[in-house]
């Protein structure tokens, strides 16, 4: 079944017809996001140019009961922007204006298609910046950050997207437009802004976001330290936190991740060492310097084999570039890989990494680790070769690693989201009651289940079969249920 021509005409009445893509070849470019294993070709792709057009398009969807999926830069790693068969993709790529920078009140108003880094670029002339920094910040959009409640290396000290978004203008699934939150950040009544943040595109589409800006820190100190074992590096992280220091970021990479990043960026990582930490401190000069000495001492205490301090802004940028490009850089050392995203209590880091290494050996596959050590957010990358028939084994290993995180008292996802990828794993972490409450919240916003359906919460259809092109459900074939 495809959308009938009347629906397309309805979209063409509210958008420029050239902004309604229906050619199947063009639409196929939108069939997946950063998680390419899941693909569904949408019937139409809409490219609205402003907030009013987004609202108008959603109203058409609501009127004709057409499911829709919002998409920013399509960099998500959990299939959150996976299109729906017989549905439309609403691309926010053209809503990319910085509407206002208000240095006095330290906030900016931006459209959802503005990239994370562009906010900082717009704020920089005022000595301000936008703090959350996902590794893909040069390309990922703020709309996607809001949907996923994105984290990043510096969220250890500064908090996640939700701590930096004051308010959002939102097009609800029925096409009405509301503002959630307030520009002062203080709100009476239930925190609906908080509900919307991290809802993975299932409660509406944000068309304008007011973000908090921070003053660029007076001083930033960054060091790169090599360690003889992952455990030693893990102990350093624990000791830094125990010393009462709140670093801006503590990132860990293991041998394979270091090799990949170094090959991509040539940032001066030591190839071959078992583990490396990137520790960054920021704040007033005196505090920063004093704590930096403490951190150096802790590193040395745990047998640091090389301690390198970034001597210039360029060098610091290079170190971060290596770290932030690490996922994609792994493509240089392996034909294929799975990116996993899980959280464990920081104190169990070494133990979990040990278990992961063992599981990798058992499966006969390499696992690269690159992660936000400061908050226990792991990103194990399972390396494999599809051509060599290792896909299923790798998939199983990656899944077992996520399961291990939950077992250790952690979480299924730190920042990449549940999306399509992990919806079926939600019962591992949440009780039936938990999930029922979540479903009721979702239904309150989206009673017709039109807004990014099939994401986050497990459904029998999603979890009973492999995603891909539409196939009739067995119950549908037997006439028990029918497709809306």
């Amino acid at each position: 079944m495809t959308l009938h021509g009347g629906v397309r005409q309805a979209f063409e009445r509210v958008l420029d017809p050239a902004d309604v893509l229906s050619d199947p070849v063009k639409c196929r470019a939108y069939e997946c996001d950063g998680l390419t294993g899941y693909r569904v070709c949408p019937d139409l792709v809409l490219l609205p140019r402003d907030a009013a057009q987004v609202a108008a398009a959603v109203r058409v969807c609501h009127e004709h009961k057409v499911p829709f999926v919002a998409r920013g830069a399509g960099t998500g790693l959990s299939g959150g922007a996976l299109p729906v068969a017989d549905g439309v993709v609403i691309s926010l790529a053209r809503l990319k204006r910085v509407l206002e920078v208000d240095p006095a009140n330290r906030r900016a108003v931006v459209e959802p298609g503005v990239t994370n880094l562009e906010i900082t670029a717009a704020a920089a002339p005022h000595g301000l910046y936008y703090a959350p920094d996902p590794s893909s910040q040069q390309v990922c959009t703020i709309g996607g950050n809001v949907a996923e409640n994105s984290g990043g290396a510096h969220c250890l000290k500064y908090g996640f997207t939700t701590n930096h978004v004051l308010s959002c203008e939102v097009v609800l699934p029925d096409g009405s437009v509301v503002t959630l939150g307030t520009d002062t950040g203080e709100q009476a009544g239930p925190d609906l802004r908080g509900v919307f943040l991290g809802s993975e595109g299932t409660l509406g589409i944000t068309t304008s976001i007011t973000v908090r800006l921070l003053r660029t820190p007076e001083s930033v100190r960054t060091l790169l330290a090599d360690f003889p074992s992952v455990a030693a590096a893990g102990d350093v992280v624990s000791d830094i936190v125990a010393a009462g220091i709140v670093p801006a970021a503590v990132e860990m990479m293991d041998t394979l991740a270091i090799e990949a990043a170094e090959e991509a960026v040539h940032a001066g990582y030591t190839v071959g060492v078992p583990a490396a930490l990137v520790v960054e401190l920021d704040g007033p000069v005196e505090e920063c310097d004093a704590q930096f000495e403490q951190v150096k001492a802790i590193c040395e205490k745990h047998g640091c084999t090389r301690l390198h301090i970034a001597g210039s802004v360029e060098e610091r940028a290079k170190i971060w570039k290596g770290r932030k490009a690490a996922f994609a850089a792994v493509g240089r050392i392996s034909p294929d890989y799975f990116v996993q995203d899980g959280v464990v209590p920081r104190t169990r880091l070494a133990e979990v990494l040990d278990r992961i290494a063992g599981m990798g050996t058992d499966a006969g596959l390499r696992v690269a680790n690159v992660f936000h050590a400061g908050d226990g957010n792991l990103h194990p990358l399972v390396l494999y070769s599809a051509a060599a028939g290792e896909t299923e084994r790798a998939e199983r290993l990656s899944g077992e690693i996520a399961e291990l995180c939950v077992e250790m008292g952690g979480s299924l996802s730190g920042e990449h989201g549940i999306g399509t990828d992990k919806a079926c794993s939600m019962p591992k972490m949440f009780s039936e009651d938990d999930l029922a409450v979540m479903a009721r919240v979702q239904a309150a916003f989206d009673p017709h289940n039109l807004c990014n359906p099939g994401k986050v919460l497990p459904t029998p259809r999603l979890c009973g079969e492999r995603p891909g092109k539409y196939r009739a459900h067995p119950l549908e074939e037997s006439g028990v249920i029918e497709r809306l």
């Binding site: 390419t36 990319k96 040069q138």
Partner: protein, 445 residues
């Protein structure tokens, strides 16, 4: 529980025969290198303009993958989006996975030229462009005052275009800059000896557009190289290097020109073949790869490519010897895509400019973004090229330069067109260096 977490592998099966023919289709391993991360999107000029996935490097590679798997054909949208690519290679710079988009595009464009029937207007226009630009003599005729068609009606492709689509001929003509008859017909000396102690011996590719419309740049190049201790040879019977055709997918004629260029230069007793044109340098450095499966030429091409250097690489290699006069002013350097992205020559032009005392060198915002010239792009896609030109001009203005320098004739024409009213000299870096060495005022053009 199996959780298939993030993977770059699309697992799209081979559903039918590839839409590409068997002659150098895009290599499977190169397509598989793309992990779909999207880091290329912000630097892609067409994605910046239109925000459409199919007009991003990631999207284009995805379409190539689909075509290779037999899922889509080459005509229609595929050709539309491959055509829309400027070939600026900013994505190659941005890619953390090391995807060789340059090689992919280089194999896909000829596939389109061979296998897709273009509409008549497009065909006529392209024929006219390629019957004119690679030919120095025809360009000289075109440079004479008067209407282009009057001068070139003996060329059938131009005549056909003039008869069927006079508007597009006029558009083409508007891009050709005014040039004096004397400059258009001037010739470089075949041999210019080094000034003072000889430090090397080089041959210069004088180019086609470069030699007719920017003869003064070639003259400055010869003077600067000689002043820095190089004997400079300029073989008179050299022809177009094929860059323009190569970047447009006209493989066969481009390779013919490559072979002729190799044959012309390889017998010369020189250390280096120098070019002052970014586009020519990038294609000549690529001859080795392009002719790798031509047994008779492969090793000759590799040897030739190994000797090709951009003029800035040569100048930055050795300590300057010619005394420089100071230039007090802000100099904005624009990285030509085929120099910065394609050849990764970024530091050398800056080093050369810094060798001029008192120069205040400034970089441009959005430096990685193409100016819209891109070979024949501003002729076949004038609207997109125009938007990029306006954007580049705005970025140049924002740094308030006294002089703008860039090392490619296409960029000089394009930026010159969109900054015509600004009154800022737009030059090739060697022109500035030449003025500094000679102690003469900086030229206006």
């Amino acid at each position: 529980m199996t959780t298939p977490a993030g993977s770059a592998d699309t697992n799209i099966p081979q559903n039918g025969p590839s839409a590409f023919d068997a002659h150098r289709p895009p290599e499977r391993e190169l397509l598989d290198d793309c992990v779909h991360c999207g880091f290329c999107l912000p630097t892609c000029p067409t994605y910046q303009l239109w925000g459409e996935e199919m007009d991003s490097p990631r999207g284009r590679i995805y379409l190539m993958d689909l075509a290779s798997k037999g899922e889509i054909s080459l005509d229609g949208p595929f050709t539309e989006h491959i055509d829309a690519c400027l070939g600026c290679m900013a994505c190659v710079t941005a890619c953390p996975s090391g995807v060789q988009y340059d090689k992919l595009l280089e194999s896909v464009r000829p596939q389109v030229e061979r296998n897709v029937q273009r509409d008549r207007g497009d065909r006529l226009f392209r024929e006219a462009i390629f019957s004119l630009f690679p030919y120095r003599r025809r360009l000289r005729a075109a440079a004479l005052p008067g209407a282009l068609y009057q001068k070139l009606r003996t060329i059938p492709a131009v005549r056909r275009l003039a008869e069927k689509l006079p508007g597009r001929l006029a558009a083409m003509e508007s891009l050709l800059p005014p040039v004096s008859v004397r400059a258009a017909f001037a010739q470089l000396p075949v041999f210019t000896p080094a000034v003072g102690a000889r430090r090397g011996r080089v041959a210069l590719l004088s180019g086609c557009v470069q030699d007719v419309f920017f003869h003064r740049v070639n003259e400055a190049t010869v003077r600067v190289l000689a002043a820095e201790g190089y004997d400079v040879l300029v073989p008179r019977d050299q022809q177009c290097c094929g860059a323009l055709e190569l970047h447009a997918g006209r493989e066969e004629t481009a390779l013919g020109r490559a072979r002729r260029t190799i044959a012309r230069f390889e017998t010369l007793d020189v250390d280096t073949v120098v070019t002052n044109v970014a586009g020519c340098g990038s294609s000549m450095k690529d001859y080795g790869h392009l002719l790798s499966d031509d047994e008779a030429w492969a090793s000759r091409a590799t040897a030739f490519s190994g000797r090709v250097r951009d003029v800035h690489e040569v100048l930055a290699e050795l300590e300057p010897v010619a005394p420089r006069h100071p230039f007090r002013g802000r100099v904005a350097y624009h990285d030509a895509c085929h120099l910065g992205h394609a050849q990764k020559v970024r530091a050398q032009p800056r080093a050369v400019l810094r060798s001029i005392p008192d120069v205040e060198l400034v970089d441009l915002p959005e430096a990685e973004l193409c100016c819209g010239s891109a070979g024949i792009y501003n002729m076949v896609a004038p609207e997109a090229a125009g938007e990029l030109g306006v954007r580049k001009a705005g970025n140049v203005r924002s740094v308030r330069p006294d002089v703008v320098v860039t090392a490619n004739p296409g960029c000089l024409l394009q930026i010159g067109k969109y900054m015509a009213a600004d009154g800022v000299p737009i030059l090739h870096p060697v022109q500035l260096l030449d003025a500094s060495i000679r102690g003469v005022p900086v030229p206006r053009t």
